[in-house]
Structure formats: C-alpha cells, structure tokens
Amino acid sequence: MTTTDNAVENPPAHEPAPRERSFPDPYQMETPEGAEGWEDMYAYHNRFLPTRQAEDSAKTWFRNSLHYPEVSYPFDQVTIDGAFTGTGVTNTRVFALPPAKGLDVRVINGYTYMSTIASPDAEEQARRAEEFGKRAGYYFQNWDSLYAEWEGRVTTAIRAVRDIEVPPLSEFEPIERITVDRGPSQANQLLAAYHRLLEHGDQIWTLHSEFLNLGYAAYLQFLTLCKEHFPEIDDQTISRMVSGVDVLLFRPDDELRALARKAEELGVGELVLAATTEPELLANLADSDAGQTWLTALDESKDPWFYFSYGSGMYHSHRSWIDDLRLPIQAIGDYIHRLRSGDDLTRPIDKLQSERDELVSHYRSLLDAEDLTGFDETLALSRTVFPYVENHNFYIEHWFLTNFWNKVREFSSLFQAWGFWNDVEDIFFLRRAEVEEAIVDLQMAWSAGGNPQGGHHWPPIIKRRKEIYEALSNWNPPPALGPVPGEVNEPLTIMLWGITPETVERWLTAQDGGGSRTQLTGFAGSPGIAEGRARVVLRPDQLDTVQEGEILVSPVTSPSWTPVFGRIRASVSDIGGIMCHAAIVSREYGLPAVVGTGFGTSTIKTGQLIRVDGNAGTVTILDESTGA
C-alpha cells in the first residue's frame, strides 16, 4: 500500500489525544495496491487538494453509493459533475431554497463522496425565503402546465442528442460545401459536434433537477405532517398514500406483457419462446405475416420504452434493453408461460387504487376535524408533484442517457477507425478534456492528410487505467469520511440517501468491527416477510444468474430490473431510503424489500438462506452455508 499524493507527508509529531470516533480522514486514505496513479483519471476539481486540507478534513463526506455505487470511469465523470451542477444550481441559484445549498463533490480511489455546503445564516435565509416564495410559488401554482412543457423540452433534448452527426471525415469535402453553403469543414464540425454533445449532457441535469427537489420538498411536507399526527406511522404507509399506481417506470415492463399477449394472439408464442437473442428472434419470425406483425409491434415498443438501462443509467457500462435484447426476450418468454398457466398478467391497478383510497380515509378518520384541511392540502400537493418525482427517472436516466452514451460510442468508432484504440468502449477511459485533445489531434491529422498521434499516445494509458479500474473495483470504500456529523437533520438527506443519526451509528459500529454478522438492519422498503436463498448481484450483467425463488441482494436496484422481480421472492439493497427505486418497484410488485442495509452485498453470500422482514427492516442470515 502507498499513500496518495493528497495525503499529508508528515503527520503532526505530537501524541494524538484519545481518539474520538470518526470516519477515515480523506487525506490519510491509502491507495489500493495496483491502483497507483488513479488521480490522473479524474480532473483536479474532483480531487482532495493538499492545500485545502484544513477545510476539507473538517467536513463529513458521505459516499454517494445510491447513484454511483461503482468506480467512476474517467469519461463518465461528465454525468456526475453534471448532476451535481444541476441540483446545485436549481437549489442555490434558481429557486433560492432558503436553508439548503448544494453539495461539494470529491472522488477518492474512484468513488464519489459529497459534503453539504453550510446553510446560510438566518438573515440570508430570510432574504432567500423571499426569493424562494416567488420562484417556487410560481412552480407550485402552475405545476401541471410547467410539467407538460418540461416533457416537451426533454424530448427535444433527447432528439437533439440522437441527431448529432459525427462527420465521417471523408476523403474530400462534399461538393455542396463549394456550391451551396460554404460552411465549416468536417474538421470544424467534429469539434462542434462534440461540444454539442457535452452541452446537452450538461444541460439535461438542470432539466432533471427542475422539479425534483420542489417535488421532494412537497412530499416531505406531507411526510412530516403525517409523522406529527401519527408518530409511529412507517414511511412506506405514507408513500403509499401518495404514490401513483401507474407510473412511467412500469411502462417498459407493461410493454413486455403486452408483447407476450400479442405473441399468443398471433399464434407466434412458440417462435418467440425459441429465441434468446435479437438475431434469433428476427430469424424465427421474419418469414410469416403474423411474425412480421409481431416484429412491428416490438419495434413500436422499443422506442422509447426499451431505452431502459439495466443499471441506474449513470454509467456507460450499464447498457440498456435496446442495446441487448436478451433480458426483455427472456421476460417476454416468462410472461408467455404465465399466460399459458392462466395468469392474465394485468397489474391490479384498481385494487391498488382502492387500497390507497382506503388507507387515506382510514388515517383521515383518526384526525381531529381541525387537522383535516392541512392534511388534505398537503396530500393534494404531494400527489400533484409526485408523478414528476416518479417519472423524471425514465426520461433522463434511461431514455436520454442511453442515447447520450451511444452517441459517445459513435465518436469512439471514428477514433477506432483512425487507429486511436481497438475497442469502442475504450473512449470511456479518457476524461472529457482528453477526448477534446484527441479530437484536435484527429482534426489536424485529417485536415493535413497525415496520421494522428493518438494511436501512439492512448493505448498504454488506456491499458494502465483498466488495471487501475480493476484494482479500485476490488477496494471497499467506507460509507463516510471525516468527523462524525453533529446532527443529521437535513430532511432531503434523510429521505433520499437514508442517512439518519441511526445509519451513521451503524456505520461506525460496523467500521469498529462491532455489529451483528448475521443480522442487518435497513429501512422497511416494502412490507412482507420472505425466506429464500440469496443471490448477490453486483452488476447488471450478472442479472441472468438470478434463479426462480431467490432473494436478490444488490448494491442498488434499477427499475429496469423489474422483469427479474417476477422471479424473486424479496430484495435487499445496500443503499437507499424509502423513496428509492427498489422500494417503489417492490411495493408495486408486492415483494418484501429491505433497503439501505449498508453491508448487504459484503455480508451476505450467494446461496445463503436468508429471511427478509420488510415490516421491520431487517435481514437475517439463517445459515452460514454457501451455494455453488
């Protein structure tokens, strides 16, 4: 092990005072063996800088493992920087949220940590409150029309990214350049196209945050009101009163069910069942009219509903249904079997709706008359804002980002053709600024009719970075860095990240070697109790290992994993609060879920018999045996 460049060379000579409990100091972190030089993979603004130690060591840094559970690829830092810019500017500059500003972001050993920027003082808060009232008020009062307009802006952005043309760098400029427009050269267009891609990848995050924190704030208002009236009510009951029963994230799975039904109606069920890949599907179905009809239906479903990432969408490596149809094809097959066994595959929307109404009227009946108006008003506002909170994810993380990453691959293919590297995926081991350097290299070489330098420069760097990436992936990042926070009471932090005083205490206990090895505690994400064999899935590409009746144990689950939810008995995740995707999806599918266990994937082994108690928020390892 070696210390990082950022670490202090000479720790203070005096004997340290009896140590208070704290998380590791970011400046004392050791570099995992084999990952030396990892700092080059990230821009300076993402690193802990030696001259800023006094300031940065004094703060608590929480690992953002909800959105960024994996090591960041150098290029993928674009989405991390963009997302924090988007949420920061929305809170701080657009709506002037009075008590909360944005977050500082750092990367250590490839993992993303964040720290809240201190709240402004009372006087500044009052000044901000005046602005916030005008700005947020406008949104709350015009929510539906603004949301409709937002959908238009997002789909325009998605189309714009899809339509960016990567110039082919043909031997000669087209003749039209002489006879018609006399515009910029393909060399000029190459850089402009890359800038346009970055521009959209940056702006999308402002769109992402535009309604999100206002939505959460409104929901939080209802949550807090419920807890004042019913101190023992659990979060999932509250969210059930608010949640829509039919949200966009379930639409892709609904499309698969519809395709299964259609296959049976057209009498091509067997042909669909016989295929596991898209080429097999085409080969099996293209010959008949019925098959063609079904393939047309498949194409209609694909756009946009298969732009659905296997992961959070935040990493280029997650890929989407549209890139690899194996999971949807397998799921359609499962649904065909279920249809044949008499299941009509409809989700019980009416039942969910009436359960939701019953729940609300039950809690209303327990309130004093004087409290009813406040309850009704905050509930109504929560329900107004909630479709956005639930639906933005499909538009941005799935539909937009799938197009974004694939457009980056188009650029990479060009570089590949010019000998920069062998694998299209290699581009993601370059930082965004480095890609721009490569573009300039290519511009100059193509323009002059020579050969670019890239093929000499990048391959060893990429090779080394891949080794570093592997070494960092095997490292176990602590959940937090720096001093133990005085109090965790920022409501959005609690709701989104599941970080409460209790979580912090659990982390400390586990760090100090305490805590139970057979029992994990998290948030009760979805009610019910289930027992079964664990299946630990660390990355989306391991999803096809999940067997019928197993319990899914993962760092974090993505909504696009929903077809797998038909096969599992329960789910356990390391990360997430009550509103995380795993909880929402599990509730919808009636599966017990415990989220935010912190150590599920590092404690539970595939094959172990475990019990998931989605009422109490606990996971118990029932035997120590491990499977194959």
Binding site: P98, A217, T224
Partner: protein
C-alpha cells in the same frame, strides 16, 4: 330498582352525578352492546341518606374540618375515628334491604344462566365509583377502592361500607380539610359498583392510542396471567402487543417474564397473589386471534365514545379453548393530546424551516 340501586342496563353517561363515572361508563357500555359483566350501582343517594339518617354527616364534617392537615398524627386519628363511625353506625334497613335484594337478584339470575347451584353466593367485585368530572381529584379523595371476589349479600354490604369509608384516608381528609364546606361535601359524594366477577385467567389493559407517542393509529395491549390487578398496579411486567388500527394488524409482540398473578383464593372469597408456574412464565398469554378480538372490541369502544380510550378487560377461557372478552371499565385517555402538542414543537428545526418555506410558497405568500 329503587332509589339506592340501579342495574347497569338502566344507566348511561348522563347518570354520572347519581352513580359516579365508573358505573355510568359501565352502563353506557352495556347499552352499546359491549361485553361487560353485569352488575348494579349503589347510588350516591344511598351514602347521602345513610349520612342523613343520623348525625353522621355532621360528625364526619366535624372530624374533617377539625383535622390538622399538616399533622400526620392528627390525620391518622381523624381517619381512625371516621372509619369506625362509618362501619359502626346502623345502616337504615331500607338502604340495606335494597342493596341485599339487588345482589340476590343479580346472583340468582347469574346462577340460573350459568347453571350453578350456589344461587345466593355468586362472586362479585365491589369498587368505588367517583363522581367528580375529571377523575383527578378522585385519587386525592380516596375514591379508588376495589374489592375482588366478594361473596354473599352480607359481605357485599360490608364492602360497600368499606368503599364509603375509603373516603376517609388520611390524604383524603387532608385534601378535603382545605376545601370550603360546600366543596368538601361535594367531594365526599360516592357511588359503588357491584359487578359480577370475571373468572379471568388472563387480563390486562388496552389503549386505543399509543401510550408511547400518542399516535392515534396505534392500539397497545398489555396482558398478564390472572386477574387484571397485577397489570394495573404494575406488579408484573406484562406482555406487550402493538397493533395498527388498519386491519387491525399485529405489528409487534414483546413477551415478558410474568412472575406473579392474582387468582381467586381457594376458600372462594378474596384473591391471592402467587408465583406463576415456570412453564407459563415466559409464554405469550394471548394468542394472535385473542389479540385481534381484543383490538376489535377496543375499536368499538373507542368509536362509541368518540375519543381514545384506556380499557380494562379480562379473558375467560371456555373448556373448548375459545375465549370470551369482558370489559371491566373504560376511561378516556387524555395524554395523547398533550403529547401531540409536544411532538409538533419537537419537529427538527431544519425540517420546520424548509416546510414553512414550502407551505408559504404553495399558498403564494411572500
């Protein structure tokens, strides 16, 4: 029935001035069709007329007003004198006869219904029933006496007189000696409840609001072996069953080690406090279906009164294993309101700030 006794099914909450809070509430529950052991009230008039039949009222007043509230010896002497006087004076035959006859009627009817022979010796509980509005003064005034497993008319009458005499504990005398004559006289009104003894093997208390947080969506049940006295008095750590009213559904069960229980004395009169045999100690004293049955009844009681209740109950097990719930009393639970106010004050600063701003923004203020 007459001036001095009223059957529970003739009473409702409006009769509190005549029969005290406990009897009025029992009557109200009987009329609402809730499972309450039958019984009757010895009315306030019985004790009032007893005091007026001789110079008893004047004498007791003299003793109370003459006591030095700050002298333990003086209060003790006043207590001894008053109790001797209340228990010693002759009870006017018309009052005694009416209580005797009310008991014998209850006893006969019950023996007939149960098919037992001992028609004049059915066990009852005799308890004071306070008349003051909020019940707070009752504890000072000593109107809290309970006698279990009382058998036979003579003993019932004796225990009724002991309930009356319980008005004259040293503390109660100290309390009333500081009141005006009119208030002291009002505070010394008392009724007595005579109620069939539940032959309970499990008993306890149900709150239709969380005693922990004041949450009105919660039901909490405390239960232990034997008669309910052990739970009410805190002499055992009871089992705890927590439910959500929606359903209702059982959310948490905490089984305690229940070392002691009250059971009827072997002689047929009174109760004994004994060790619970080891085999039963750490076993849940309620099944899930019994918990749900108790919760259902508690919800009916709460609905009837329209506010959270604190309910004492007992469970009688039949030979076939089924259980019959009996309600012994129900009182409004008032702490939840106070807790609710405290709770809203405690909402974290960060939250209330943000929510204040959101609330203002949604209403278009600023």
């Amino acid at each position: 029935m007459g001036k001095y006794t009223r059957r529970f099914n003739e009473l409702n909450s409006n009769d509190r001035p005549l029969v005290g809070g406990k009897c009025a509430s029992l009557g109200e529950m009987v009329q609402a069709g809730l499972p309450v052991p039958d019984g009757f009230a010895v009315t306030v008039d019985a004790y009032e007329d007893y005091r007026d039949a001789s110079d008893l009222r004047k004498e007791l007043l003299r003793i109370v007003l003459g006591a030095d509230a700050h002298s333990h010896a003086s209060l003790q002497q006043a207590h001894d004198e008053s109790v001797a006087m209340i228990l010693g004076r002759e009870l006017p035959p018309v009052i005694e006869q009416e209580i005797r006859s009310a008991y014998l009627t209850l006893s006969n009817e019950t023996a007939q219904r149960r098919g037992t022979d001992d028609s004049e010796r059915i066990p009852v509980a005799v308890r004071s029933s306070a008349t003051d509005e909020d019940g707070d003064a009752a504890s000072f005034a000593g109107q809290q006496e309970t006698y279990l497993w009382v058998v036979g008319a003579d003993d019932v009458i004796a225990k009724v007189r002991e309930c009356w005499a319980s008005l004259y504990t040293p503390q109660a005398i100290a309390y009333r000696s500081e009141l005006s004559v009119a208030d002291a006289s009002e505070a010394s009104k008392i009724s007595v409840a005579v109620q069939l003894m539940a032959t309970a093997d499990v008993a306890g208390v149900t709150f239709t609001v969380s005693p922990r947080t004041g949450d009105r969506s919660v039901i909490a049940i405390n239960a232990s072996w034997g008669l309910g006295q052990s739970v009410v008095s805190g002499e055992v750590t009871p089992d705890e069953y927590w439910l959500n009213k929606l359903g209702p559904t059982l959310t948490t069960t905490r089984i305690a080690s229940k070392a002691h229980e009250y059971v009827p004395a072997p002689g047929g009169t009174g109760v004994v406090f004994r060790d619970v045999d080891v085999a039963r100690r750490d076993v849940a004293c309620l099944t899930e279906s019994e918990v749900l049955q108790l919760a259902d009844i508690a919800l009916r009681v709460e609905k009837h009164y329209g506010c959270p209740q604190d309910i004492e109950w007992a469970l009688e097990h039949h030979a076939d294993g089924t259980a019959k719930v009996m309600l012994l009393q129900s009182r409004p639970e008032t702490n939840w309101k106070k807790r609710k106010e405290e709770k809203s004050k405690n909402t974290t600063k960060g939250t209330s700030n943000l929510l204040g701003f959101v609330a203002a923004a949604t209403k278009g203020e600023n």
